[in-house]
Symmetry: none
Subunit: 203 residues, 4 copies
């Protein structure tokens, strides 16, 4: 588990990363924000690598939360997927720092020790997405001529790029709206073509 202070540190770290990139995450910056001395952080995390690890865990939980929330609605797979995307967008809008959820690779950049953790995190997210899409296929809501793994890829890739652009443009636009539009198009793309049966029977 995490102490309250550890959580605070992680959240502030994410904020620093969001504001100044990975290079902005320094003990000095943290201590300024907390008004605590630098060595004090070693009481909560034995080293900076552990802070990063804590961040990864934290992000994992956020991501899981988004999926679970969508899951609990009990709607169909495609709607759950929509809820996931919109859930992310809402989280990011409320707290910009959380965009890191989608980019664990950037946090592990250059740090060999975190590589495993990053891969695990990305895999988990990928699996969750893939499961959703597999379900969608089973329910006839998603085209089956493309593998669910690929769909997961396309969806996640689009979302990541959308968020990246949003950040580069200074986060001035309405992310939730943008993702809603994205979903609108993704839904068209995912949807299977009109079943032939319908038209035949209509005669």
């Amino acid at each position: 588990m995490r102490t309250q202070r550890q959580t605070q540190i992680i959240e502030e770290s994410l904020a620093l990363i969001a504001e100044h990139g990975m290079e902005g995450l320094t003990y000095r910056n943290l201590s300024e924000r907390f008004g605590i001395s630098m060595p004090a952080f070693y009481r909560h995390f034995p080293s900076k690598a552990d802070v990063l690890l804590g961040i990864m865990e934290y992000l994992d939980e956020v991501s899981l939360g988004v999926f679970l929330t969508a899951q609990e609605t009990g709607v169909n797979a495609l709607d759950r997927l929509r809820l996931v995307l919109m859930g992310y967008a809402q989280q990011f809008s409320k707290n910009t720092a959380l965009t890191a959820v989608l980019f664990p690779d950037l946090i592990g950049e250059g740090r060999r020790e975190l590589q495993d953790c990053v891969l695990r995190h990305m895999d988990e997210n990928r699996v969750r997405l893939t499961d959703l899409l597999t379900d969608g296929m089973a329910a006839g809501l998603v085209r089956t001529d493309v593998s669910p793994e690929r769909w997961a890829f396309v969806v996640m890739g689009s979302l990541r790029l959308e968020v990246t652009q949003w950040r580069l443009n200074g986060k001035k636009t309405d992310l939730v709206g943008r993702v809603a539009f994205l979903w609108n198009d993704l839904a068209k793309i995912l949807k299977p073509p009109e079943p032939q049966r319908d038209r035949l029977t209509s005669h």
Copy 2:
């Protein structure tokens, strides 16, 4: 123009970034690779910011090259798009460092001064892709119920994620093959549904 030495430095810088992330790009690392002293680099680039700028220009040229090569074949828009993706994949396979072409945002991270340059670069790439897809639509090769801008987004997003995964997995797999598969699926997705007219008139 660029001197030979400037080009060498840029290419070695890209290699360092590919291997150790942006934090790996230091004068110390460069000087070790070149076997020359650190101050020597200031003869070629007045500051590190200028190295980064040089990198951005270089990447721009690489990207442009890939598009032009595809353009010159004179094949249809969809095939040109394929050639672009495959062209990237081949470049990246030959020289891993060039993956940066797709991620100018990572190079500009945290460096306010480069932000403009990054945005311009990404815009240019986006426009090139969008033009290709607009052409594809005009030729009836691409679904028109989704805007070309969105298609460009989906394609670029997928490619970026594919490359990211490839790098995270240690570049051990065959990137060209992976991108070929990606294209295979993207082609299905992009292709317009069977024309309704045929079936209707057949009755």
Copy 3:
């Protein structure tokens, strides 16, 4: 306020400046004298500019001290002026580095940010001298056909040059003695001409 360490650093900095000029004030030199590492100084002064600022304040205090000491004697203005000059000389003899008190302009040289501070310091010193001379005039001890501002100028100019010469000659001579002689002459110059009374009574 100043910590003990800050005061030590300021004093050692002044010593370095006195020995090797402004270019002698480097973190390397400081760290050699203190036997601590270079980054350690950043615990006490956030940047070198702040060291210089600290020096300026310190010098201000020294200068003020000399004036106050003279003031407290309660003797007449001319004698107070003498005490100021002699006070300076004694301070400088004890601690050569303190000659900087008279030359704040050299410390601010080329550092735009310190310019204001330098001007303020020099103004304060000028005002103190001028006040003294105005008092002297009021008491009939100083010629009134020259403005007190000018007298302050002449006195300070002479003192500065005397100290400069002393330093250039290797500080081998007796500064207190030299300033005593200087004062001897300045006193003659400042003194108003023989009172008219003489002439009147001679009739």
Copy 4:
């Protein structure tokens, strides 16, 4: 003798010193101003110390020129002294960099090797002034109860401080005017008291 190029370099060096202090005199800055490469300067001066030496000689000549010009007028000693001060002021007004003439000590600061040269230069100037004042005394134009050496000191000290203040205040005021005022007061101070004759004849 000096080549034309050497003279140019010296003059530009003085300009750099005037603008940015001694730290502004670098080969880089010089080469930028001349549009020549840095090693090119070694053709004209074997080392930076030699540039400084050249500067000292140059300043000596300027100073000598001012004195000779005053000498050639053939007016009395006091007027010649006035011409010297005004001559300096005019030179400095035309070319700010020449103020260095009065401050050879600043150029030699911290450079052991130049110390001798600096002392010689200052001595020469002092002697020229002293001679002038000795003449003035002989002609009954200058008070004799203060040694000519001291007078030279007072005059030079005042002038140096005047110029220093002018520079610190951004050289915005009219230096010639200021020195004229200074001379006005110095003339009063130098002048011997009302001739005794008056009193004697009154009997």
